[in-house]
């Protein structure tokens, strides 16, 4: 099954837009949410669900940790793999994401991680 949908949850507009541009050039379909709450709302409202989520941790309103709690508690979305994208490696790894990309982001690392889940 081929899936092209990606959800980016990140509060910095420039980072969102850049990732979106780059991943769209690669042929993916990218949606953006600016905080954890928007991310959850997006999952609930917009179909089809993404095949992978790129998640920032430090965000206003609902942060990345809060998003993960909500997502993992919901059997409808808990299977969606999450790539945590953060400057804080230890915090990022402590939440046991399916993949981790450190900031500042390396292009190949980001595309490689996404490819792994969007075959």
């Amino acid at each position: 099954m081929s899936c092209k949908q990606i959800l980016i949850i990140e509060d910095d507009q420039a980072i969102c837009q850049t990732m979106k541009d780059i991943l769209e050039i690669q042929g993916y379909e990218v949606s953006i949410a600016n905080d954890g709450q928007e991310g959850v709302d997006h999952l609930r409202k917009i179909l089809p669900n993404p095949c992978v989520i790129v998640l920032d941790l430090m965000m206003p309103k609902a942060n990345g940790w809060q998003f993960l709690d909500l997502q993992r508690a919901d059997p409808q979305f808990s299977h969606i793999p999450v790539i945590v994208c953060s400057a804080f490696e230890e915090s990022a790894k402590s939440v046991r994401p399916q993949a981790f990309v450190s900031k500042p982001v390396q292009l190949k690392q980001l595309i490689g991680a996404v490819k792994e889940f969007c075959a």
Binding site: D12, A14, D21, E24, K103, L107
Partner: protein
């Protein structure tokens, strides 16, 4: 003790003074001699004495009068006074002496043992008192020091917080900027760039450009703070029309104004000529406008300026989030802001810089604000900068 204990001996007859000194010579005290009441009063202003030995019968000012005056002088107000007298013990005489401030009597001819014993008691008291004072002073010093250390620690903590924030502000634009560059390199290497729509490529490069502007803005702010705090702020005064400067700034901000969604109305008549530093005032206008756009919630912003007496008034009013009364003074401090850094980027130094630059012109800035209703900043400048 580094200073020997001082004793004042007052007698009009040198031979008596000589006898006293001889009696006390090996006791380690420093005997200071006065030959009259007047001289004693002068010496008592200059030294702290453990005890004063005061002859009663002296020409001009007698012992009683001298004692009274010693009591009236601050430095000798509580110094123990021992009257030395050859008069026969008479009760009324003694009472007069005690009334004048004596605490003890010695009768001539002096018994050296009694003299030494009495003086020793007072010296002991004096030393204890001195020690107490010294302890109290040490305690006070320690407290002051503790207070100073607390303030310094707070200052260091504030600075560290500021540095962490500056690092964050410098690092955030790096991710998109570096991603864009890597993407372009990759697209050229793969020869895939031809297939990417021109619009998208231009937008990506524009985003990169915005990141560079973000970075240089943070660096400008850092430099502004360094300049101000290191006192290297020079003023270059010239005659110019502030209304033109305001209009130039607004024109150069057309992009950010559009992005903010705020409608900016300008009520600035021409001919607001004064003698000021152009670059500094440009910074003032930019910082106030930036804040209004940032905290203005997309609501209308009004900029007005007018002359009033010998003052120039510049007012920037927004209808944004406003500042709580308890935060209104704080926002002008260095590294302070009233809202969390996660929701609003920036270093929190903008108003500190504005306040400093306005003061540099001999002017002042006023803030009226209500939480949730918006803020009005009014700058008042003398038409001729008073530096």
């Amino acid at each position: 003790m580094p200073h020997p204990t001082k004793i004042l001996a007052v007698d009009d007859r040198p031979e008596n003074l000589f006898a006293l000194e001889a009696a006390l010579t090996d006791s380690g005290y420093k005997i200071i001699e006065a030959h009259s009441g007047e001289e004693a009063l002068e010496l008592a202003k200059e030294h702290d004495f453990a005890v004063i030995l005061l002859d009663v019968q002296m020409p001009n000012m007698d012992g009683f009068e001298t004692a009274k005056r010693l009591r009236a002088q601050k430095r000798s107000a509580v110094t123990p006074i021992i009257f030395v007298t050859a008069l026969h013990k008479s009760e009324s005489y003694e009472i007069k002496g005690y009334g004048a401030g004596a605490v003890d009597y010695l009768f001539k001819p002096l018994s050296i043992d009694i003299l030494k014993a009495k003086i020793a008691v007072f010296v002991e008291l004096y030393k204890k008192n001195e020690e107490n004072l010294r302890q109290a002073e040490l305690l006070k010093k320690a407290e002051l020091r503790e207070q100073e250390i607390k303030l310094l620690k707070e200052a260091v903590a504030t600075r560290d917080e500021f540095l962490a924030m500056a690092a964050h502000e410098l690092k955030t634009p790096i991710t998109p900027l570096s991603l864009q560059i890597q993407a372009f390199i990759q697209m050229y290497k793969d020869n895939t760039i031809e297939g990417v729509p021109r619009d998208r490529l231009i937008r990506m490069l524009e985003t990169s450009n915005v990141q560079v502007e973000r970075l240089s803005k943070v660096i400008d702010e850092l430099r502004g703070v360094v300049q101000i705090t290191s006192g290297k702020l020079e003023v270059l005064l010239e005659t110019f029309d502030l209304s033109l400067l305001i209009k130039d700034v607004i024109q150069s901000f057309s992009g950010p104004i559009q992005n903010s969604g705020s409608l900016v109305s300008v009520d600035v008549p021409e001919g607001l000529v004064g003698f000021w530093d152009r670059r500094r005032l440009e910074q003032v206008v930019i910082n106030l406008l930036t804040n209004a756009l940032k905290y203005g919630r997309g609501q209308p912003i009004q900029i007005s300026a007018w002359k009033q007496q010998e003052q120039l008034h510049l007012q920037i009013r927004d209808q944004g989030i406003g500042i709580a009364i308890e935060d209104q003074e704080r926002v002008f401090n260095r590294f302070e802001r009233a809202v969390s850094t996660r929701h609003y980027s920036g270093l929190g130094v903008g108003l500190f810089i504005v306040d400093t630059l306005v003061r540099l012109h001999g002017g002042k800035i006023r803030l009226e604000s209500k939480l949730g209703e918006g803020s009005t900043f009014t700058v008042e400048l003398p038409l001729q900068a008073v530096t």
